[in-house]
């Protein structure tokens, strides 16, 4: 049984999607337990795979017993094992936090929501676990299509935002498919390891170069790398919070993972960083992404949009770090996949708690919130500190590696952009703290005990997962050393110094 964990990871949520959608017709009460059970199975598989990778090294699984390159291979190594665990944890915690809201908000559509939810997770897990470039495309579409559905379930301008996302996302996925097509023409293979074995003899071939560039552009579109980010802010803002809290932490991060997978596994670091000669340009684009994300975030007047633009900046962190071409930068980028997913989840769960009570997520609805919802705001502030990069939260450590990488590469523009965005994040989060703390202004300059304003905290079902993530930020930060020495350092090829 334990041998089949890589397959179980994808099959359990995939099959459960059918049952959940059936349960949605028959009895809605069964939807949530089914979703939890399937994601639980996936989570346990991911954990045990992670453990096995740490103990014994990479795991290769042949779907249906077919040998690669003909059959589809699922490969779990040091790079994707932590991402798999991350996806399951985020999906489960968000399920816990949002089930109340889902059932109150979607009513008869509850079954549809949970079906799409597990399908989305299926896609993400599949993208991460697969060792087959075409299979990755299939799962990417599964994740994307269910993601569109999840976002379109929102009210207001959600359908329009989704339509925009559908166009952009489809173009992105097509680019990726086209790139893989080129690679298939040149190498005759779709298995990543197999392609990697054949490619070095073909690096002079212009088609290989085109394939990589096209794939990258497609992925950048999917991960909202500035200036290809335009679909993201509206999609995440108008999405219902339970969907946004799943998609925002995971979708862009998994796409960054795919990019790194392409760079490290399918192509060789030597080709990507030396022969290709575009890394400097990409890092400069990352600089622009970070600076523009930060500036655009400053201009927003509601929480979800502000966080969306912060994500745009954070994508710049990861892309820039990965393309610095040194070990520290790559470590920072991979570490930031984990950290940023947790930070974004923390912020979005806090937004979920705020929306649950205040029915709004604009800045003006935050007035007096530190008194009204102290626990929610406490976790929100902790998430904010991590985004700013204050030790010992995890955001500090990935930023440390990214800046070290920039320093070693002599890329001072990237270093300055990281510091600039940290400073802007201070402004962003303390502006919210100011609104929550100072407004409405007290008459008489705050002397004398005021009558206690009613505390109106979110339900425990949101608060508990929220605080698990918030404290997780600190725990992950303190255990950075373990994560790097036991996992991440093996994920990066020795060729990268």
């Amino acid at each position: 049984m334990s041998h089949h964990f890589p397959a179980l990871l994808v099959i359990a949520p995939l099959l459960s999607a059918f049952f959940i959608s059936g349960a949605g017709w028959l009895n809605r009460r069964f939807c949530l337990p089914l979703a939890v059970a399937s994601l639980g199975v996936a989570g346990l598989s991911a954990l045990s795979l992670f453990w096995r990778v740490v103990q014994q090294g990479p795991v290769l699984y042949r779907l249906g017993g077919w040998d690669p390159p003909w059959g589809i291979a699922y490969a779990v190594d040091f790079l994707n094992a932590p991402v798999l665990v991350l996806i399951c944890i985020v999906a489960l915690l968000n399920l816990w936090a949002s089930h109340r809201q889902v059932e109150e908000q979607f009513k008869e559509k509850t079954g549809a929501f949970y079906t799409l939810y597990v399908l989305m997770v299926t896609g993400l897990l599949g993208i991460t676990v697969t060792g087959d470039a075409f299979n990755l495309y299939v799962l990417l579409e599964i994740a994307s299509l269910s993601g569109y559905g999840l976002i379109a379930m929102g009210e207001d301008r959600a359908p329009l935002a989704t339509l925009n996302y559908v166009y952009m996302g489809t173009i992105g996925a097509c680019f990726y498919l086209l790139g893989i097509g080129y690679l298939y023409i040149v190498t005759g293979s779709l298995n990543m390891a197999d392609i990697a074995r054949i490619l070095p003899g073909l690096y002079e071939n212009k088609a290989v170069l085109t394939a990589l560039i096209i794939c990258l552009v497609g992925l950048w579109l999917k991960m909202a790398f500035f200036p290809l980010h335009v679909w993201l802010p509206n999609a995440y803002t108008f999405a219902p919070v339970p969907s946004a809290a799943l998609i925002a932490p995971l979708m862009t991060k998994v796409m960054v993972y795919v990019m790194i997978r392409l760079m490290l596994t399918v192509f060789t670091p030597g080709y990507v960083f030396s022969t290709l000669g575009i890394n400097d340009a990409v890092v400069w684009f990352a600089v622009i992404a970070i600076v523009m994300g930060a500036i655009l975030a400053l201009g927003q007047r509601d929480l979800k949009k502000m966080i969306s633009y912060i994500i745009v900046a954070e994508v710049g962190y990861m892309v820039g770090g990965a393309w610095l071409g040194n070990r520290a930068g790559m470590t920072g980028a991979i570490l930031h996949i984990i950290n940023d997913a947790l930070m974004t989840l923390c912020l979005f769960l806090a937004v979920a708690a705020i929306t649950y009570r205040m029915k709004s997520y604009t800045f003006s609805s935050l007035k007096g919130l530190i008194r009204k919802m102290p626990f929610t705001m406490g976790a929100f502030i902790l998430g904010g500190l991590s985004i700013i990069g204050v030790p010992p939260t995890c955001g500090f450590f990935s930023k440390w590696y990214l800046i070290t990488g920039a320093l070693q590469a002599g890329h001072y523009g990237f270093m300055a952009a990281l510091l600039f965005s940290s400073l802007v994040n201070v402004v962003l989060f303390f502006r919210i703290i100011e609104i929550g703390f100072f407004e409405p202004f007290n008459e008489g300059h705050g002397h004398g005990e005021h009558g206690p304003e009613p505390m109106n905290e979110a339900p425990l079902s949101i608060l508990v997962p929220l605080w698990i993530v918030a404290l997780g930020l600190v725990v992950v930060g303190v255990y950075t050393s373990e994560i790097i020495t036991h996992v991440l350092q093996f994920a990066i090829p020795k060729a990268i110094l």
Binding site: P391, W400, L419, V426, F438, F441, G446, H447, E449, V478
Partner: protein
């Protein structure tokens, strides 16, 4: 040097954080304040229990967690850190008593929040004092910045809001914008962040790079209020007075200077600075701050703002003493951490006591106040003597050493800076005292009737003023700590 492993430093840091839940869940204010006192006394007790070992030349080390390869959260108690921890933990007890008198006297809101964040701030302060490496120091430095924000903005009005903004802009802006890149560069150069008596940067980079790094650190630790990054301190005076007293005369600002001292001695090392010829530059920066700060103080009418500018000037004494790179000067500088603390906290306590008793903030409104509040104003007089640096107060000793340090380093201009500053200190403090006591009955704004602030407001300044005097006659253990810290730094 002997090293002993012990979790005492960790306990000393954590004890006030551990008190926070008790503070929150206390049912009435008296229970809550009891918890504050309990935490303060336990903290002081733990610090004190490590004193004999440190005095005998032992270092107490404690590693909490390895957070990154080559980087740990770790504590090491040496003479320098001990001196600072001793000052801040002992003064927390006095300030807690004062807080009760002040906050209840003014019937302030949000007192639970106030005491909680005060406890957090003290944890961070001790964390900085005992930090064994630059990373740990930075961690607690940042924690202190964020823990003091709700204290500075306690009144939650428009003025507090804009002051809070300025506070964060200067303090967090510099720590992220300047210290963080400097720290990462130092780590890239030296391969470690562990403080050592000889520093770890010698021979790792070009002189220009190292000089730039030093200035990133000196200005980046903006809590030290070296000009031109000083103006957050006057703005922070919007906080309740006990906050100004303990945090903006002792804990926060001294954390800034302490960090600068640590970087100068533990990261760069005296020898490296000497070979880079950075002593004149450092002393020049400090001298400018001293003189300009004192001149600006002359023109202040708001008493707390005057004290703030005086603090800015006095903090640079410490930087100056270290910048001299001579043993006597460094001893004086380090000793000044303690001596200035007791003097300046007395002055702030007095300013707060006046505000509680009369509601007056401005010096021009305090003519003849000595007749109404003789005890407070006597304490004020003693505190100002300590700052000016004349007997019978402890400030004399540190200034004496600073002056002999300038002679030792053969820096005559600095000697004149110190003397001019003393004159300026007298020029802005003495009129306050003079007009409080000596005025014609027509000029006096107060009735000739003794009416002091509540006991909890008057007691603390009397105690700290008394300690200031005692420190002149009995400067141990601070003196021995400063001496052994300097011995460790110079290797002599």
């Amino acid at each position: 040097m002997e090293t002993v492993f012990s979790i005492k430093p960790l306990l000393a840091v954590l004890v006030s954080v551990a008190a926070v839940p008790f503070l929150i869940w206390s049912r009435n204010p008296n229970t809550r304040e009891t918890w504050t006192f309990a935490a303060a006394f336990v903290k002081f007790g733990i610090v004190l229990s490590m004193l004999p070992a440190v005095l005998s030349g032992t270092q107490i080390v404690c590693k909490v967690a390895q957070v990154m390869p080559g980087m740990a959260i770790a504590f090491r108690v040496d003479a320098l850190g001990m001196l600072f921890a001793l000052v801040s933990s002992s003064l927390w007890i006095v300030t807690s008593a004062y807080s009760i008198g002040y906050m209840r006297g003014l019937n302030e809101h949000g007192q639970t929040r106030y005491f909680c964040f005060f406890a957090l701030a003290l944890s961070a302060t001790i964390g900085v004092a005992f930090a064994a490496n630059l990373f740990t120091l930075y961690l607690f430095y940042e924690m202190l910045s964020f823990a003091t924000y709700p204290l500075v903005t306690h009144h939650q009005d428009q003025e507090a809001r804009s002051s809070g903004r300025k506070y964060l802009l200067y303090i967090v802006g510099t720590s992220i914008g300047l210290v963080l890149p400097a720290m990462i560069t130092a780590y890239a150069l030296g391969g470690t962040l562990e403080f050592s008596t000889k520093g770890f940067l010698a021979g790792t980079g070009s002189p220009a790079l190292l000089t730039a790094l030093l200035f990133l650190f000196v200005f980046g630790f903006a809590k030290a209020a070296v000009m031109p990054l000083h103006s957050w301190l006057p703005a922070a005076m919007v906080a309740p007075t006990p906050v100004s007293a303990l945090l903006h005369a002792v804990a926060v600002v001294k954390v800034g200077v302490f960090s600068v001292v640590r970087v100068i001695t533990g990261v760069f090392g005296i020898d490296l600075l000497q070979s880079l010829h950075l002593s004149p530059v450092l002393t020049a920066v400090a001298s400018v701050t001293i003189l300009v700060g004192s001149f600006v103080a002359l023109s202040q009418d708001n008493l707390k703002r005057l004290l703030a500018f005086s603090t800015i000037a006095q903090l640079s004494y410490i930087v100056l003493g270290l910048g001299l790179l001579s043993p006597k000067g460094m001893t004086g500088g380090i000793l000044h951490i303690a001596m200035h603390a007791f003097g300046k906290i007395t002055l702030f306590f007095c300013a707060g006591a006046i505000f509680v008793a009369t509601g007056k903030k401005n010096i021009s409104e305090m003519v003849g106040i000595g007749r109404r509040m003789p005890v407070t104003m006597s304490a004020f007089f003693l505190g100002s003597l300590s700052i000016i640096g004349v007997p019978p107060c402890g400030g004399f000793i540190s200034k004496w050493y600073l002056v002999t340090g300038t002679l030792e380093a053969n820096q005559m201009p600095i000697l004149f800076v110190l003397l001019a500053s003393s004159l300026l200190n007298a020029a802005y403090f003495m009129p306050v005292v003079y007009r409080a006591f000596f005025c014609t009955p027509e000029e006096a704004l107060f009735e000739n009737r003794v009416q002091e602030a509540p006991l909890f407001c008057v007691g603390p300044p009397v105690i700290t003023a008394a300690i200031s005097i005692i420190l002149l006659f009995y400067p141990q253990p601070f003196f021995r700590l400063a001496e052994s810290a300097v011995r460790a730094i110079t290797g002599g």
